[in-house]
């Protein structure tokens, strides 16, 4: 993973909408805090840079009340001493691509997009609650559970068409 630039980090932090929603800071004030943090940051581990910065931002900017609330939505956990600790497994990530492909193969064409979108919505929620790895596992479980009914529906539809075609052929004497 390449080392993110300070500008990328600042943009990422500013787009962290959960923080912006929870913190009742004005945008300009928030931007100032982010700039101050990124200016003096020393990034040692590229992979954890964003999480580290978020944690520091949370610690510096938030009041005690909103700190506790933010434990649920941030990419960090609240330790016993009241400090935020990075939790790398709780990174947000996209849903597993192969599970998505599997569902696309079995779903009816008119509902495929909506159904996969629904599972993606669940995945985003699971990421926040259980972390990315568990969210991926749950996504796979739900995808596999869905294959049975979708496959059965496809078989029934195919059989119906087979009956119609054979009836027409018999009627026409083909």
């Amino acid at each position: 993973m390449s080392k993110p630039t300070k500008q990328q980090i600042a943009i990422d932090l500013l787009e962290w909408d959960e923080i912006l929603r929870e913190v009742s800071l004005r945008d300009s004030e928030f931007a100032e805090r982010v700039k101050a943090l990124t200016d003096r940051s020393e990034i040692t581990r590229p992979g954890d840079a964003l999480t580290d910065l978020r944690v520091r931002l949370v610690e510096e900017v938030l009041t005690d009340v909103s700190r506790a609330r933010l434990a649920a939505v941030s990419h960090a956990r609240l330790a016993a001493d009241g400090r935020f600790v990075p939790w790398p497994s709780r990174k947000r990530r996209g849903p597993p691509k192969y599970a998505e492909l599997l569902l696309t193969a079995f779903a009816s064409t008119r509902h495929a997009e909506a159904m996969i979108g629904d599972l993606n919505e669940r995945h985003a929620d699971w990421c926040k609650r259980f972390g990315g790895r568990w969210a991926d596992r749950l996504y796979w479980v739900r995808a596999v559970q869905s294959i049975g009914p979708l496959l059965w529906r496809s078989v029934v539809k195919a059989l119906k068409w087979a009956v119609v075609i054979s009836t027409v052929r018999r009627f026409l004497g083909l």
């Binding site: 996209g94 849903p95 569902l103 079995f106 779903a107 009816s108 008119r110 509902h111 997009e113 909506a114 159904m115 996969i116 979108g117 629904d118 599972l119 993606n120 919505e121 669940r122 985003a124 739900r142 559970q145 869905s146 294959i147 049975g148 009914p149 979708l150 059965w152 529906r153």
Partner: protein
């Protein structure tokens, strides 16, 4: 009279209860919260597919969102024939369960 399966009844009732915001996730949650049983998203969409084919539900597309990976929601509403069939189906269950002697029928 067109027959409805239990899941189809649940899905139609959920769509009625959530009107006009009934889409896959909301329908699934609605059924889970009220029956204690969560159908898979595949089962829900299979039922919706059947119901739409029979003309009992109609769908309209929503806006794509980032949390859904840019995929659009599909909102479902119940049609007049759908409401009629659901009412008939529930009435049939109501008339079957009316006047039952539960205590006498229980095996000891």
């Amino acid at each position: 009279m067109e027959q409805l399966t239990t899941l189809e009844q649940h899905v139609l009732l959920a769509i009625l209860g959530l009107h006009p915001n009934g889409y896959g996730v909301a329908i699934q949650d609605h059924i889970r919260d009220r029956t204690g049983r969560e159908p898979s998203i595949g089962s829900v969409y299979t039922s919706l597919d059947r119901l739409e084919e029979k003309g009992f539900v109609a769908s309209r597309q929503g806006e794509p969102t980032a949390t859904r990976g840019g995929k659009r929601k599909l909102y479902f509403t119940i049609t007049a024939p759908g409401q009629h069939t659901l009412r008939q189906s529930l009435q049939a269950i109501g008339s079957l369960s009316r006047g039952l002697r539960w205590k006498e029928a229980a095996a000891t």
